[in-house]
Symmetry: D2
Subunit: 338 residues, 4 copies
C-alpha cells in the first residue's frame, strides 16, 4: 500500500501518518518527490483497517498494490483448477456445455428439452425451480417440485443438473437435489448466501453481477472458498451498459482477464448476456475461442409459451447447430468435452 500525501501536509500530519501506520503493525517507508511525499507501507495491505488510513488528514490518496483476494488467486495456486460436477469435469481444457430451459415448467416439458440437448452434446442440464423475477407478479418457479423433476430428468438422461438457489434457507434443500448450485447475478454480493454455499459439499456456479468488476467477482468467489468449498466455477453473463439493443453487454475479455489472475474455471452465458437468439451462437463460438471453460445456453422447444425469458431461448435445432460449431472450434483449439 502506498500513501500519497497532500502537498500542504504539515510535519505534524506526516508524523501522525507514520505513527498510525506503525500502530497498525506496518512499517512506513518515505520518499520525498518534487511535488509530493509518498509513504510506502511495508506489510500485508489487505489487512482489515488499512482502508481507514485514507481518512487521516494530510493523506491525498491511498494506492493499493496487492490483489485483495488470496484463495482465488493464481499466486496461491498456479495451475488451473478442475471442478467436477457429477462425472463432468470443468476447467484445464475440459468444457462444460450447460443447456436447458430458463425454468422447469413440467416433467414432460423438461424431458422433451433434455432429450434434445443431450442428443446435441450438452453435458449438464440446467433449469430453474426458484426464479428471481423483477416483478412480484411474474411466475416465481415451481419450487421443490421443480427440483424433483429436474433430478429425475437429469438422471434419465445421465446429465448432472444445476439450478439456482436464492435464499440461504433453501441451500440445504437445493443441495439435496442438485449436482451444482447456481448463484445468480442479482445475488453475487448476497454475502450471507455466499457464506451458506461455502459450507456445502456441492460445486457452485457463480454468475457475475450486472455491475460487478472482475475483481468483485473474484472477491465473491473468495467468500465461498474461504467458507471451505473449493469448487467454484465463474460465469460471465454480461453487464449493464448504455447499449440498448442487447439485454446486457457481454464482457468477453473477462475470460482471459480472470484466467490471468485466478485458477478458477470460467464459462460464458451468451443467453443472458445478449438476450437475443440471433447473437447467441456466434457468442458461444467466440467464448470457446477466447478460452472459456464452457458455455451456458437456454434452450426451449416452444419459446413463445415459456413461462420465463422465452424470447431469449434457442430452439433445439439452433442448439444442435451451435454444438456442431463449438465442437469444431474446440477441436481446432485442442479442448474437449468431459
Amino acid at each position: 500500500m502506498i500513501l500519497v500525501l497532500r502537498p500542504d501536509a504539515t510535519p505534524e500530519q506526516i508524523q501522525h501518518v507514520m505513527d498510525r501506520i506503525e500502530e497498525l503493525g506496518f512499517r512506513p517507508h518515505v520518499s520525498k518527490g518534487e511535488h509530493r511525499t509518498i509513504v510506502g507501507v511495508i506489510g500485508d495491505d489487505t489487512k482489515p483497517h488499512s482502508e481507514a488510513l485514507e481518512a487521516i488528514p494530510g493523506v491525498e490518496q491511498v494506492l493499493r498494490i496487492l490483489k485483495p483476494f488470496k484463495l482465488a488467486s493464481r499466486e496461491i495456486q498456479p495451475r488451473d483448477s478442475v471442478v467436477q460436477v457429477g462425472a463432468v469435469r470443468i476447467g484445464a481444457g475440459h468444457l462444460a456445455m450447460i443447456a436447458g430451459p430458463c425454468a422447469v415448467e413440467s416433467a414432460p416439458g423438461l424431458d422433451a428439452i433434455a432429450r434434445r440437448v443431450k442428443a446435441a452434446g450438452a453435458n449438464i442440464l440446467r433449469g430453474g425451480a426458484f426464479k428471481p423475477r423483477t416483478s412480484p407478479y411474474s411466475f416465481q418457479g415451481m419450487g421443490e417440485q421443480g427440483l424433483e423433476i429436474l433430478r429425475e430428468v437429469g438422471d434419465r438422461y445421465q446429465l448432472p443438473v444445476v439450478t439456482e438457489v436464492m435464499d440461504p434457507r433453501q441451500v440445504e434443500l437445493v443441495a439435496r437435489w442438485a449436482d451444482m448450485l447456481q448463484i445468480g447475478a442479482r445475488n453475487m454480493q448476497n454475502f450471507d448466501l455466499l457464506k451458506e454455499v461455502g459450507q456445502v459439499r456441492k460445486p457452485v456456479l457463480l454468475k457475475r453481477g450486472m455491475s460487478a468488476t472482475v475483481k468483485d467477482l473474484l472477491m465473491s468467489a473468495e467468500y465461498i472458498l474461504a467458507g471451505g468449498n473449493p469448487d467454484v466455477v465463474l460465469c460471465e453473463r454480461g453487464v449493464r451498459s448504455f447499449e440498448d439493443s442487447t439485454r446486457n453487454m457481454l464482457d468477453m475479455s473477462a475470460v482471459p482477464n480472470v484466467k490471468g489472475q485466478s485458477h478458477l474455471p470460467i464459462i460464458v452465458d451468451p443467453s443472458h448476456a445478449t438476450g437475443r437468439p440471433d447473437l447467441i451462437p456466434s457468442m458461444a463460438r467466440a467464448a470457446v475461442a477466447a478460452g472459456a471453460d464452457g458455455v451456458h445456453v437456454e434452450v426451449h422447444d416452444c419459446p413463445e409459451k415459456a413461462l420465463s425469458d422465452g424470447p431469449q431461448a434457442l430452439l433445439p435445432d439452433q442448439f444442435d447447430k451451435l454444438m456442431r460449431d463449438v465442437r469444431r472450434l474446440a477441436e481446432a483449439l485442442g479442448a474437449r468435452f468431459n
Copy 2:
C-alpha cells in the same frame, strides 16, 4: 402492448400471432403501415406470459406501454405517501435527516456520534450491525450486540434507529430492535429478502441497486408493497459508472423521476454516492433543492479509526455545517423536519 411484425411475416405467422393473443385473453387490433404491420394488444399487458409473445416467429419487437408496477404507482395513489418512523414523518414536505456511523463499533463510540448528530439536528440515527463487505476478511459487523447498542443509544437521544438487514433469517431479529429496516444496494433484487420485509410491520428503507434503473427500483418496492407492507422509503445512493474519481455516480434526477411516477418518498445518500467528504455537503444541498424527502449521511468522530468506510465519513463539525445549510435551503423551499 404493441407487437411490431417483421416486414417478411407470412399470413400464417400473422394468423398465429392473432390466435396466440386471444389464447392469452387479450384482443388484437391490427394496423397495416407502409413498412410494417403493427398489432395493438388490448388488455392488461403486465399480465404474466405476455413477454413470451416476443418469441413468436414473425414478431420483430414488442413495445410495452404500461408501467409494470401498480401499488407503487401514482396512478393508484395520486397523493404523496408519508411514512412514519418512530415520531418522525418522511414525505410530503417532511424531511428525514438520517445520520450516524457506517457500522456500530462500540457503545461509547456510538453514543459520542449520536450526541453530535442529534445536536446538529438529525432526526434518525443509523448504524450497521450486519455489514455487507466486499471482502470476507473485512469487519462483518457486531451482529445482535450491535443492534442492542443501537437501540439503547437511539432511545437515549430520542432518535428512531435504522439498520441494515441482509438475510431473510434475520428479519425478525432486526425488526425487534430497529424502527426501520434498511435493504442495501446489493440486496435490492434479493427477492426472498424483499418478500420477508414485506411481511413485517416496520418501515423499510430500500436503497437503489448499483445498476438498477428507476423502474427496477420501483419494481423492488412493489415486492414489499405487494407483501402487505405499505411503508417504503426509497433511497438514491449512486450507480456504477465509468467515472473513476467518485465511488459511484449520484443520479440526482432520480428524485423528480421517482416522484413523477410514484407516491413513495425518496431520500438521497451522498455518502455512498460520492465516497468523498468534500462532495457530500453540496450534494446534500442539491438533494433538498431537487425535492428529496431527506438525506442520509455517514458521520464518524474519528474516520481514520472507523472499522468500515471511514474515508467517506463526515466529521461531526462538517455535519453541523451541512445541517445549517440544508435547514436554510429547506426554509427557502418550504420543507420541514419532523
Copy 3:
C-alpha cells in the same frame, strides 16, 4: 509516478527499469516490501514518454500521483476564475442563466423566444446555427444566416449570444458573430477544434463528452488554455448510462468535483442531461444549490414544431417559474446574476 514491480521481476529487469528512469531524466527511489518492490519516480511525471515505462518487462503497474493538467488546475490559480461574456460575468458567485431554442429557426421565431427569456431573467441567449445531428437526414441548422439572426436578436434584447461551432474551418466565422463559442459534447475531444478555439479571443463554453470523466473534461479545457485562450466555462450535460428513462445521466457531483480541482467556472445543462421537461426545473434548482455557476436551458414557444429537440424544451411559462425558483435559491445562498 510509482512503478510497482512484478513479484518475479529479475535483478536484470530491475536494473533496466532504473536505467530507463534515469534516461528519461527522473530519479528512481526503491522500496522493497514483503510482496512487491516499488520504485518511486522523482520528477515531473506528467512529462511525455513516462507512460511507456509501463511497457518495461517486470513492471506490473504504474501509479500516477500528479494531475495531468496544469493551467486548468487550482494548484496554479487558487482563486475562482471569472469569465466575461459581453457584460455578463460567470464564476465566483456570478451566475449565468443561458436560455434559448435548440436551433435558430427564423428571425421572428427567435425574437419571440428571446423576448420571453429576457423578461424571465436570462442573461445570455443561446441558439444553434450549425447543428450536430445523429442523422444526416435531420435539419442541420441555418448556417451563417442563423448566426446573423442570433446576433441581431441578441443585440435587440441586450443579451450576449452563445452558439456552437463544430468545424475548425468555421471558428473564425462563428467568432465574428457570437460572444461565446460552444464546443458540443460530441466534439469535446475533437482536438483540432480545441486548438483552433484556443487561438480565438472569445470565451468558450466547453460541454462534457458523453463518456468523458471529469479529468478528461479538464484535459480538454487544458488544450484551449494551452492555446492561449484563458476564458473557458465548463458545462456538465449528463453522461451515457444504462438508465433508459432519461436521455443521459446528470452527474451533479461533477460541479463540486471540478471546483475542488480547478478554478474554471462550471454550469449545468439539465435540458440535454435529462431530455425531459418534467425533470429540468428541479435539476436547475439542484445545480444552483450544488454551487454551479449557472444553468443552460432550452426554451421554445412551440416545442411540437421545433426543428430540433422539441420534446426536451421548456415552454416560456415553465422557464419563468424556473427562474423565480432559481432566484430564490440563489438569494438564500448568496449568489447573484451578473
Copy 4:
C-alpha cells in the same frame, strides 16, 4: 411510429394530435385500449420533424419502429459488402489483418515493424501521423512527414496503408498518401469530418465511439454513405464502462449485431478495447470466431520506447503467434485472407 397518449388526454388534445400528424403528411390510425389510446402513424417515420410529435400535450411517449438508417441497412442491400483497400478485400469471408505501431515515429522504426507484421501475415499496415491525444503536452504525431514514411514503407512491403484523419482540412492531404482513412472513436460523431470523407474516393475505417450504441455507429456510417462514398468498414474497439481493469469494454456481440442489420464489414480492435497485451490474442481469436471481417492490432518492437500507447502494443513475436492462431481458426471456419 406509434404515439401512446396519456390516460388523461382530452378529446381536444387527441384531435390536435390527429391534425398535426396529417399536417406532417402521415396518416393516423387509432386503437383505444383499456388503459391507453395509441395512434399508429402510417408513413415513413424517419422523416424529419416527426420527433417533435413527442412534444404535443397529451402524448406520453413515441415509439419508433423503423431503423433510422437506410443506405447502411441490409433491407436495402441484403448481401455483404466487400470493401477493397489496395489489393486487399474486406468482407464476405475475406479477412483484414491490420497491424502496425500506434504512431509513425521514424522511417527505420516503421520499416522494422512493417517487415515483421508482413512476415507474420498482416495484409494492411497501420500507423498514425496525426494523433488524438488526451493531453496537449503529449506527442501529437509527425504530421505530413509521417504520411510520407507510411506510404514509402507500405509500398516497400506491398501493404496498403491506413492512417487516421482528424480534421476536415486534412482529408485531402491524408487521402493523397493513404489507401484507407481512419475516423477515430473520438471523432465518430464529428459530422463535418464524416461529410468530408463522404466526398472522398478512398475507403474509410470508422471506429465506434466510446459511448456510441451500435445504432449510433450505423448512423455515422450513413453520413459517409449519404455523402457518396460506399466503402465503409466499421470497427468495434471497446466502449467505456465501470470495469477498471481494462481500458475499455470490448462489445464482442456488436459483430453479429451489426451483421444482422447491415451489409457493411466490421472488424475488431482488441488493442484499444482492452489496452492489455495479455488479453489481445484471445480477443483476436474470439473476434474471428464471432464472424468479424478482420482484426486491427497495434504492434511495436520496443513498446517501452513507443511515443504513444506503448503499454498496449504487442511485440512482433506475440503477433506472430496471434496470426498463427487466427489463421488456424479462420481455416476451421472457412474464412480467408485476401
